[in-house]
Symmetry: C2
Subunit: 192 residues, 2 copies
């Protein structure tokens, strides 16, 4: 009667299902995606991905198709099974478990009262440079989507929309960090 929780896999497993659901992929391709665009909010390395794919296969959520190649190593292209597709669909709208974020820079900030002022300035300045670069990168990518996709009224069930939605969050996040870093530096510059 109530909402039973059908935990078929770990969150990483669902990350892989989500990627494979957009198009059949090899473990190698998944490792690239979980590094650069998707890796911004869910990161994993190949050493975690290959064993997880084996688990998904044993659970009947994905099916590999072996592809022989002559010039490069053979590969396996994974696709969702019907079971995998419905597991993904269910998981997507279940409330996320409270995840305890860990932000090392904030942890350092908490103890900044003990720090050398000059060293502190250097830290926040380099962080500002890093985050500004990330922000600009996100914005460059976003310009491609922008008006076209989102202005379309029935967009929210398209991959283009969900891509843009995550990007938008990334931009908002980085913008906020940059503003905060600038505020920090303002207060660290007052040397008196």
């Amino acid at each position: 009667m109530s909402g039973l929780t059908p935990v078929a896999t770990s969150t990483l497993g669902y990350a892989l299902l989500g990627l494979i659901g957009r198009g059949a992929s090899t473990g190698y391709e998944l490792s690239l995606l979980l590094k650069e665009p998707v890796g911004f909010y869910w990161h994993a390395r190949h050493s975690q991905i290959y064993p997880e794919l084996a688990k998904l296969r044993k659970a009947g959520l994905v099916r590999p198709r072996p592809v022989r190649q002559s010039d490069r190593p053979d590969k396996k292209i994974y696709a969702l099974t019907l079971k995998g597709r419905s597991a993904l669909k269910e998981w997507v709208t279940e409330p996320p478990r409270e995840h305890r974020s860990r932000d090392e820079l904030l942890l350092k900030t908490f103890s900044l009262w003990i720090a050398d002022r000059k060293a502190a300035r250097a830290l926040y300045e380099s962080e500002l440079t890093r985050h500004r670069a990330t922000l600009r990168r996100h914005q460059r990518v976003a310009r491609a989507y922008n008006a076209r996709v989102v202005a379309s009224t029935r967009g929210s069930a398209t991959k283009a929309f969900t891509d843009y939605a995550t990007l938008r969050r990334g931009i908002g996040y980085e913008r906020e960090v940059v503003a905060w870093l600038r505020w920090m530096l303002q207060h660290l510059r007052v040397t008196r």
Copy 2:
């Protein structure tokens, strides 16, 4: 000649040093702090804390003082050693290692194209409620500090300032999440 990295402990170890450096504490007190105010950016449970305190003690970074009690269990109050204090001071301004954040809600958003629209709305609405509550809680706490502390010109080396700085980041973060969730809901409400 160059900047050698003096990794004396894990990041959790430095989290504990940072807390103990503000005032000698028991493992129990540390576990409460790493749950509620500090836990917003670095969370840990008692089962991780007690073994870590033992490691810090063996490394000579903290020193426990046993306190016998009659009405409640005995306890150990940990204080920083000189070595512990300088380890903390060094760590604070070292660049944080690129931490790969994991945001389950964004991962779900990425695959939202597959979801049932009504279920999706419910998800983002409940997230909005949660984050609005957190934001209000942060803002209530911030009102106490506000003008008084930060307006003081030489504040940045005080615990009150660093507390306020982390809080401010928390407020900015939650505000951004709330704005993004509202944007998401706008697009999910268009049912056509």
